[in-house]
Symmetry: C2
Subunit: 233 residues, 2 copies
DNA sequence: CGATTCTTGATTGTCAGCAATTTTGCTTGC
DNA sequence: GCAAGCAAAATTGCTGACAATCAAGAATCG
């Protein structure tokens, strides 16, 4: 029945593909934070009907990349310090849970796969390919989550990573200390492979602790950086 | 101005209200797990167009209460043991983070509010109003999350609680030991009010630990305890 | 001149209908 | 009697058109 049908006809729903397209534009920085999105314009650009665009935008709103101002407009989400704080704190506990579960139910193939990705990351950094390194970094964390075998966690994590990426693109964020980054990843991988659930969770959670702490202080100091953020639907 | 306008034309978008209606039917057990949803039927029942129903169903799919089989059908989600395990493990870390943050940024009013809800919970249990007690239990956890001042966390938590409620309704789950339940809640409330972030997180996370452990063992034993499949005539 | 109401243009929200797809049920051939 | 294939019904996917709403500027009144 569905042997080669998957290769031939793209069976995915049109609104999903439209959402993919808009999402990649947002994550790629083509559509900047807080910029307005016009249904008609997107509809012409993607050559689909307005209803389809509308469905795609609703999806992206559910993913947190777009916000809807009812009866009025669609906008790309903002990236205030408060948003970043929310994203990183959430990421921490999600990846913490993922690392814990991964450590308890890891197979040999998954272990070697993690080490492989870790090696790629190391090489990319050593060779100065920092853009690749960022992508591989995301892949590594996603791979750990995948070995946790937790569908809902994987879904949430994917959305959070999108938001992390969006925030990084908008703020021009780059890691400062690559050696430290490598050490942290090595330790995390070995903890997962070693089956040390507590340590794996701890390492995954503390991975972003520096950013979280800085953002927490920034917010408590009342410094309203970036653009003011409206309500979220 | 807004005398009777508020009655006639409610400001919320139609598809949101349609989603609310369907969601309440699912959470109320009217639409059982794995049952099929027909767009036309819902459209007639809610007296809105099929497009609106479609948008509502897409929302509910994003919330995890409904699943879409592309080009074929919509179904109410299932409630297998694996689903329950995912839901409770996720709930654990989300409420853990919420309790930690709540403990660090709690105001006096929020503290008394928590104690008030705790009191209501106690009274409902003492008076044998177990249905009310369940609702108040949900309110209490939501209130803790609210004091964490973390929009994305609150959104995710709301969705998870919906799924918890759905699972409870479908499986006929009821707490076994109400005294223990009260103790746990009291301890959690006092930890939050006392500002003990570590203890608050620990208590919130271990709140469902019994269920999680039972489910984990059940799953590792390979016992595939799915809920009944849809009928074949 | 400033505030207020009205009009106009632009944009979003909803609907009904057509197209594509899947499922069902019947027919046909063996 | 039964499997395969085809026709018809049911259902979902997508679109264009119409209605409701909002933002901005013109007109009016103080």
């Amino acid at each position: 029945m569905t042997r080669l049908a998957s290769l031939k006809t793209e069976k995915r729903l049109l609104d999903r593909r439209a959402a993919d397209h808009i999402r990649s534009h947002i994550l790629g920085g083509v559509l900047p934070a807080n910029s307005r999105l016009l249904e008609t314009q997107l509809s012409e650009e993607l050559e689909v009907s307005r209803g389809t665009v509308r469905s795609a935008l609703a999806q992206l709103a559910g993913e947190g990349l777009v916000r809807q101002v009812a009866f009025t407009r669609w906008e790309v989400s903002g990236t205030s310090a408060a948003d970043a704080w929310e994203i990183y704190t959430l990421r921490g506990v999600l990846e913490g849970l993922g690392a814990r579960l991964a450590a308890t139910s890891l197979t040999n193939e998954e272990g070697t796969k993690l080490r492989t990705i870790g090696g790629e990351l190391l090489r990319a950094i050593r060779e100065g390919r920092f853009q690749d390194a960022t992508d591989i970094d995301f892949d590594l964390h996603a791979a750990i989550i995948a070995t946790a075998r937790h569908g809902r966690l994987a879904d949430q994590h994917r959305l959070i990573l999108h938001q992390v990426r969006f925030h990084m693109v908008q703020s021009g964020f780059l890691p400062k200390d690559y050696d430290h980054l490598i050490d942290e990843h090595e330790a995390l991988i070995e903890a997962v492979i070693g089956g040390d659930a507590d340590r794996a969770e701890l390492l995954a959670r503390s991975h972003n602790e520096a950013e979280v702490k800085a953002l927490t202080e920034l917010l408590h100091r009342g410094a309203r950086s970036e653009v003011a953020e409206p309500e979220r639907a």
